[in-house]
């Protein structure tokens, strides 16, 4: 047995003035494996990963016990800069990695710091460019790249020194599906071709779970993570609410081992008679009310490019509309037009109520000093009506326990929820959400879905632009698909999603079911009939 690539020995940690986040963690990352770290927002995943190269505690302060050992070097005695050749570290925000204004120069940054000879450096950079498939980006400025390209360049920068382990802290949470796919494919290839050890924290497990050799679950918030027990991915994730839909379906139907991919699940589903049961009764969709905002022949050009061409969309009270479409298809622009933040070049927007828009970047709304103060700002600006709405929305989005924390000290998914609460609290007639589930864990997503359903039930309307078809399947009543600035599909969510190549996982495994919840309901239905 070779020595572990990363060895956590009795690691315990508490941030300055905070409760313990980690306590007595023993974890050996095997050389050459991909270890997936899963767990809810704020559970200590990032803290665990940042221990690997000593960013915790050297960059954070706080109380630290135990040690992490890589290549015989302990983080107790070595600060991060002296572990640069042992551990490569990449954090989730791809934009704030870069030091040098050219991709290849930035990759060479670590090599220059380590004092490698120029000829060796030259060769190493060429190899890393090829390993991540970014040779065509070598002369570009990192600021001009897409998120997925930036993240691959950042990984190249961490990999250049040939570290024993590559630690990636939610590398895809800020990316669109294509970018996420590219990054994870590159990681898988590095592991397969070079044997690079990878520790990967992720929320979006649909893509990441099949790549991993082992997974480890970090305990929920509140309880300090102790005794982490890595194991086979399917077994570890089976009991986790944020597992991919197929894994949850497998657990519901008692498949062993639980599948991780649609392919495995389809094979198992073919042999399972329970899925041949009656199709789900068409859920009684609430009859939508009057139109609250409507776009008529809307065309928008930004920077000389026609982003929206001739869009007609009606949003009625009581509806949850999911806006799907690839990056650059005009989703955000349409939301901004509906919100009245952008005047359309052609056509018109008729509005019978107030629309409020939650932008993609939640940080733009975080004022501090507490989550409660942040949420309370909007009603104050709107003239101080219903202050009780603040508590209602804090509860609706599971923010009650975080109400007195500083918003900037929360994790990405928690910030996103604060931003949604801060806008929704003004009780707009139309709530427009732009990628609301970016970086969110499963419980946060569930809370958001409940809140969205609540708005619609009270006679409001919700439009959410998203890449997440699972989210659309679970909470939308209608789906609008945008392609190249046009509406290419518009109809009830079941109809639109069923005819799509990008259907949610359950629909691809066991049509006509859309979600795990529907399958569960169908299994329970005969029992109810007997009674």
């Amino acid at each position: 047995m070779t020595a572990p690539a990363l060895d956590y020995r009795g690691v315990g940690f508490a941030y300055p003035g905070g409760d313990p986040v980690l306590a007595g963690v023993d974890l050996a990352v095997r050389a050459g494996e991909i270890l997936l770290v899963a767990g809810p927002s704020g559970s200590g995943k990032s803290t665990l990963l940042r221990c690997a190269n000593g960013l915790v505690p050297h960059a954070t302060g706080g109380r630290f016990r135990g040690e992490v050992v890589t290549l015989g070097r302990s983080t107790r005695s070595h600060p991060p800069r002296r572990l640069a050749d042992a551990v490569g570290f990449v954090h989730q925000d791809p934009e704030s990695h870069f030091v040098v204004d050219r991709v290849e120069g930035d990759i060479a940054f670590v090599l220059e710091n380590l004092g490698m000879a120029p000829v060796a450096m030259r060769r190493r950079v060429e190899e890393v460019l090829d390993a991540l498939g970014i040779a065509h980006l070598r002369d570009r400025s990192p600021g001009t790249l897409s998120g997925g390209e930036q993240q691959r360049c950042a990984i190249a920068g961490a990999l250049a020194a040939g570290p024993a382990a590559l630690v990636l802290d939610e590398p895809t949470s800020q990316l669109d599906p294509q970018g996420a796919e590219d990054v994870l494919a590159a990681v898988a290839r590095l592991n397969a071709d070079l044997g690079t050890t990878v520790v990967l924290a992720e929320h979006r497990l649909e893509r990441a779970a099949p790549l991993a050799d082992r997974a480890v679950l970090v305990a929920g918030p509140g309880a300090a993570a102790t005794r982490l027990a890595p194991g086979p991915v399917g077994d570890v994730l089976a009991a986790y609410p944020g597992a991919p839909s197929v894994t949850r379906l497998g657990r519901l139907l008692g498949w062993d081992p639980p599948p991780l991919t649609v392919r495995d699940a389809r094979r198992l589903a073919g042999a399972d008679p329970r899925l041949a049961g009656p199709p789900p009764a068409a859920a009684a969709l609430p009859t939508p009310g009057g139109t609250v905002v409507a776009a008529r022949g809307v065309g928008v050009s930004l920077g000389g490019r026609a982003v929206l061409k001739d869009v007609d969309v009606d949003v009625r009270r009581g509806e949850v509309v999911a806006l799907l479409g690839r990056n650059g298809s005009g989703k955000t622009t349409l939301l901004r037009v509906l919100a009245g933040l952008l005047a359309p070049g052609r056509g018109e927007v008729r509005s019978a109520g107030r629309a409020a828009y939650v932008p993609q970047d939640p940080d733009a709304l975080l004022l501090g000093p507490t989550v409660r103060a942040d949420v309370a700002t909007t009603p104050r600006l709107l003239g101080g009506r219903d202050p009780e709405a603040v508590d209602e929305w804090l509860a609706a989005l599971d923010l009650g326990a975080l109400a007195d924390r500083h918003p900037r000290r929360l994790s990405a998914g928690q910030r996103q929820r604060v931003a949604v609460a801060a806008i929704a609290v003004g009780r707009p007639d139309v709530l427009l959400l732009d990628e609301p589930t970016r970086g969110m864990d499963a419980p946060s997503r569930a809370a958001l879905e409940r809140a969205v359903a609540g708005v619609a039930a009270r006679g409001g309307a919700v439009v959410l632009a998203t890449h997440d078809v699972e989210l659309a399947a679970r909470c939308a009543t209608r789906v609008v698909v945008l392609g190249d600035g046009d509406v290419v599909a518009d109809g009830p969510s079941r109809t639109v999603l069923a005819g799509s190549l990008f259907a949610p996982q359950v629909l691809r495994v066991a049509p006509p079911f859309l979600t795990v919840e529907e399958v569960a309901a169908s299994l329970a239905a005969p029992a109810r009939g007997d009674r």
Binding site: R81, L114, M116, G162, L194, Y357, P359, D363, L365
Partner: protein, 415 residues
Amino acid sequence: MDPACRAGVLAPGPGGPVTVAGQRRSRTDFPRPAPRGGTTTGIRTGGDLCRGVTLRLRPEPVHNVAVRPASPPLHAVAWLVWAVAAAASVELATSPVYVAVVVGVAFVVVSVHGEDTPLARAFPLLLSVGLAFALLRVVLTAATTHTGADALFTTPSFTLPRLLGGFEVGGPVELGVVLQSAAEGFAIVGVMAVFGAFNAVVSHHELVQSAPRAFYEPGLILTVSIAFVPATVATVARVREADRARTGGRVVRRGRLLRLVVPVMETALERALLLAESMDARGFASGPPTRADRVAGWCVLAALAGLGGAFVALVGRARGAALALGLVGVFAVAAAVAVASRRSARPRYRARRMGARDWAVAAVSLAAPAGLAVLALSGDETLRWAASPLRLPEFDPAAGLALAALTVPAWRASP
């Protein structure tokens, strides 16, 4: 023989795509972690063997051709010389016609050389900052300077309290004063245009690498902070929109500044901390302090003591002591730079030397301020312009010719 090398030799002709097989082999050849210090010698051999081949076989994807200029970019030092020459030209010839020529040159240079970087896009921003300063200057000067000439119009006036200087603000606004301060303000715009153009075209990292070793760390930190300017501009736009989005498109002015400033500042701070972690994780400043570092530190301390003492001596009117202490300080600074630069040279990735073209650009650029200086010494009256007596600025073809030398970076790069 090294497998990566073999793969390279096997691949088709020069400039052709590296085969998938070739790429795969070089990937598997990726070096495993080795103890620090031991890596270099072993790999150097392979690198030496490979060097010519790798260069020749650099894959050249089609869609990248448009992005990269045909000839290699000019060396950062050549750009620095150009920028200094252009700024000096503005100082030597402050007449608005000549400043306009320099602004035009800056535009030409940016349009020819500006790459698609965030800083290149910041060129208009820097230009507008210059314009804002110029306008502010005109307003302040017009409101406070009165020569007694004919007034264009008269504004309400009041006298400042004595604590703030006790002079009169407002009153008659004179054409001559406005024009004179506008001309001076335009020179500021000229310098900002040169600075903006320089930032848009230069590789900041190459500039830092070309500086003496002692300036590497502070220089790098400076370039990183320059890169924050465009990022912060983008944040401001997002925060403004988010603030409108809160209230459904309505702008609530009360407390708006605070609502805009806080997220912008905090986002910038967070980015800075993340970047610091990224630099730390990649081994920035990882070496233990050397003897040279310690000596340089003492030199800096001596310099501070010397210069501080000189200041005290100046206040105390001890001219001789001040001069002596000042000299000590200056020498100590020079010694600090020299000592710090002599510690083990930092290896540089793909370091370039100044080529013939770079030297030529630098030399021709310097001809502009040199020519203007000669004209100024020979009594050319057109270089400076004054509003009284009121007349149109004149243009001297000789000075125009000198300024034309500043367009040298655009000569060969244009098709």
